[in-house]
């Protein structure tokens, strides 16, 4: 098991956002966490990446306990979180953003990593010296994912990569996610777009108001009447 989350509970002050959730991601898998607004998806990713401290529960990565570690150490272990809303450094150039993605790596590895990113996102090469703030929404998502790839992730956590994108761009982003996975990176995908997420994922968890209510193989959940009604609009 690559990532194991056990009985994780997280509060914001008096508000309980996650109630003893447990799930896992194996090597080579795409696992998706789907759920409506406010279900706790972002909270889950933030807790794994060390931005939030859980009230109770445990998180293991490659068998090592990581809850309680500072965020930068978790990144060093290969857990990379591409945040909701992309969070580009808008005043910096595309190149500087990508270099920040490789912050934990030796400078010698950077040009190779850049080439790897350009293979998935050729458009970033053309925009290299442009301020990130001038990119389009789709390009920003490419930058956010490219920045994540620069760190050579073992586990790439994506928070709503399809948010606000045109359908054709969503297709493109999802096919790239699949490609990244096929090259050996495990993926934890958080999505409201359950339809797309269940198409590329191997397994899925459904989160409702801070608790996991359904879990299983993605193709099984796709046919589950409850999921169909609540998340696929069928």
């Amino acid at each position: 098991m690559l990532l194991e989350v056990k009985d994780l509970t997280v509060d914001y002050g008096m508000v309980r956002a996650l109630k003893e959730i447990s799930f896992s991601v194996n090597e080579g898998e795409i696992v998706t966490l789907i759920g409506a607004n406010g279900a706790g998806k972002t909270t889950t990713l933030k807790t794994i990446s060390g931005l939030l401290k859980p009230v109770s529960g445990e998180i293991f990565f490659q068998g090592k306990r990581i809850d309680g570690l500072p965020g930068h150490q978790i990144v060093r272990m290969g857990v990379i979180h591409v945040p909701e809303g992309r969070k580009p450094f808008v005043d910096l150039t595309v190149e500087e953003n990508l270099r920040l993605g490789a912050f934990t790596r030796d400078s010698g590895d950077i040009s190779g990593a850049l080439e790897r990113v350009f293979k998935s996102f050729p458009r970033l090469r053309e925009r290299l010296h442009q301020r990130a703030g001038t990119l389009s929404g789709g390009e920003l998502q490419m930058l956010a994912m490219g920045r994540g790839l620069m760190a050579k992730p073992k586990l790439l956590m994506l928070d709503e990569p399809s948010m606000g994108l045109a359908p054709i761009m969503v297709e493109e982003i999802f096919s790239i996610i699949k490609e990244i996975n096929q090259q050996g990176t495990a993926i934890l995908l958080v999505e409201q777009n359950a339809f797309m997420a269940l198409q590329i994922a191997h397994r899925a968890y459904v989160l409702e108001t801070g608790a996991i209510v359904l879990a299983g193989r993605a193709d099984e959940l796709r046919d589950n009447p409850k999921v169909k009604a609540a998340y696929l609009g069928e």
Binding site: S49, G50, L51, P70, G71, H72, V75, R76, I80, H81, P83, K87, F89, V90, D91, L92, E96, R99, L100, G101, F103, T104, S107, R147, A151
Partner: protein
Amino acid sequence: MTYFLQQLINGLQLGFVYALIALGYTMVYGIVRLINFAHGDVFMVGAYLGFFAIASWRLPFPVAIVVAMVGCALLGVLIERLAYKPLRRAPRISSLITAIGVSLFLEYFTSLKFVFGPYFRAYPRPFAVRTYELAGITISNIQIIVFGVALVLMVALTLFVNRTKTGLAMRAVSFDHQTAALMGINVNNVISITFGIGAALAGAGGVLYGIAYPQINPFMGIMPGLKAFVAAVLGGIGIIPGAMLGAVIMGVVEKLTEVYISSTLRDAGAFAILIIVLLVRPSGLLGKKQKEKV
């Protein structure tokens, strides 16, 4: 005309010293959104460290500057770790009040007899003052040193921030702590480094101030500190070139007010500038028009 140029140069000299202080204000604000009111007092400590290095320990002048810079860097980091870091998640007013407390502490603690003492001290000049005449304008070797040291430090800072990995990390952290942490940046370290660099520059400024206006006391940091703060706001707080520009303007305006209008209005000029900036262009000369970054 020569008189004007002469005063312009004197004003620039003052402005360069202000710039070294203003940079610390602006860098610290950029990274933790805190007006570090103790910064002027760090400048004062730098002046004293230079004083002891030259007068008591008989160190050469360049070494005295390094002593002041290193000493102030350590002091800056210590202040951040002890006073501000525990309050990073507290309401902003808490750290502001703490900053004022640290400022008062530095002023009165160093006034104690066994520390720096409450009296004025004449600053030792490490070398004889020489003046050179150039087309009717007099320039002293002291002025040349002030300009030279300040310029070297400002260029070095600019290169550091724009060309090094740590500089890139500083820019990332000043944009957003959480996202910077997701890049694997140790945000706490970057904040400490920023305080250290800002304090080191103020320390160098203190020594330059000492040799240029050769009298120091434990309260000497208040006025230059305030003016440097105004300079940082004038240039656009959080913006490094803005602090340099704002400080040079402040120095020149102060000097010209003093000689052309009235020396008693000298300090009023600084605060008139602050009020005008806040009214006309609150984000400062180089600041973006939009609201503060998140």
